[in-house]
Symmetry: C2
Subunit: 282 residues, 2 copies
């Protein structure tokens, strides 16, 4: 591993750069960001050795960490420009459309579809930190379509970064993520919106907010440039998750309106099963 | 401050006991819990010096930390049994109905309606810890109805525990809390339910859950015995908060269905304003 090129030097791209530098001190990292301030910050923060839009021909890995709606174009362009032993990896939060659009690309074997389950509600290079990826799950899709020797380079980096690899179909990935990530973001954003609307009448409403509110509304701080594209990109799975969620909310609304305390208690006790599942994970 | 009696030795009552002991080592704490295991644990954990159902006549403060649906009866009973210089404080999460029902009670001056904005998703005495209340907001309602000298005793304890006092009408309290606490719990419980339902088809769905999901679903671990009564107790405010939330979810659902990325982006960017408000608080 001698040279990596990173496109998109925000929270994820920046953290990848910092972690890679730490593990491979001899590594050269070139990088690019469409945002000039990000590019400058990435330099100042020691994430990249050189700013350049196009990867050198002898680059081992090109890592794409830009918003979901930009990935298809950047990925196609990167594949065209790439040297013969360069592997292009995208880190996008949705995988189905991207994998489909690349299915019959002549250089498909030089592409690896990846998604690290790592992030915070903050964005940009200044939010990045080397530990973000440490011991996180990294989902890889359609592994069989990627060239064997090029994959080895990716594994070398992922193992060094302590990523825990998981493999699944792009369809399965998008279906799962709609429920355990995208729906969480929507619920949090809409919770924030509801309380902000209430604040128009009651200015002091946030004074009474405790740690529970902070926890449920944290994701409402997330970047719109990252999240708006994910929501439309994974539309059908998200609509299905959202419909289930709205139905459950309507159902408990009925029970509250009926003052059916016993039914509510039964519901909440059943949902408490999530304790065991989350504790097993944690 | 010589003697305190605590009814309900769970997370909140137990934490009150531990913090009070730490600040007033000479204090005698008597206590009661309808659950024998809790009572025994409270003893083992050093929360109470003596188990007894009824407070001694020379008790300074009786603190009621039981579920919302039990408070009215326990409060009336406690007022009847209380010595003349005992103050009864309830720590319930809803205040309007309780204050109304006590409005013309002959011993109303011996009651103080309080609500500490402090908790975790865990419950029972084993979840309690002395720091739970440290520097948390403590809302007090209808302060003018409580006897002046008795109030001083409460202030002595609250100040020692570093509680930050806030004053408001019971109606205002319940209206605000519906938005910044009760709605968060409902959104989290229903998110948990939606993903558990999905898990019936996809058993491995939680493998892909990251810190964002954990954060939004954390409150779904909360105690049904505590939360089911709060939801019916604060029914009208919660229905109003819930209707606003469901409408916002339906609205973004439309925008996703229309693939209206620009409108979604505008929405999320507007909601990002919550960053400044939360950062100010934090």
């Amino acid at each position: 591993m001698k040279k990596i090129h990173i496109v998109g030097l925000g929270l994820l791209g920046g953290s990848f750069a910092l972690a890679s530098k730490r593990k491979f001190p001899e590594l050269t990292i070139t990088g690019w960001d469409i945002n000039q301030q990000n590019l400058q910050d990435a330099h100042t923060l020691g994430m990249i050795d050189r700013e350049q839009e196009v990867a050198d021909q002898d680059t081992d890995l090109v890592i794409l960490a830009t918003p979901a709606d930009t990935l298809k174009d950047i990925l196609e362009k990167s594949l065209e420009e790439a040297g013969e032993s360069t592997l292009i990896i995208d880190l996008g939060s949705t995988k189905e459309n991207l994998c489909k659009s690349l299915a019959s690309h002549p250089r498909r074997a030089q592409y690896l579809a990846a998604h690290p389950i790592a992030g915070t509600e903050y964005s940009g290079p200044r939010a990045a930190f080397a530990e973000l990826l440490d011991r996180k799950v990294m989902i890889l899709c359609e592994l069989e379509k990627t060239n064997l020797h090029l994959k080895e380079k990716a594994y070398e980096l992922f193992d060094a970064l302590n990523l825990k690899l998981r493999f699944m179909d792009p369809e399965e990935h998008d279906r799962h993520l709609a429920f355990v990530s995208h729906l969480s973001h929507i619920s949090s954003f809409m919770l924030g919106k509801t309380v902000l609307q209430k604040m128009e009448d009651d200015r002091n409403i946030f004074d009474m907010a405790g740690s529970g509110f902070a926890s449920t509304v944290r994701l409402a701080k997330s970047s719109p440039a990252m999240w708006a594209p994910i929501l439309t990109e994974n539309k059908s799975n998200i609509l299905s998750a959202l419909d289930g969620y709205i139905n459950n909310l309507k159902d408990i609304r009925e029970k509250i309106a009926d003052e059916n305390g016993a039914a509510i208690h039964m519901d909440l006790a059943e949902i408490n099963k999530i304790r065991d599942i989350l504790d097993l994970k944690g």
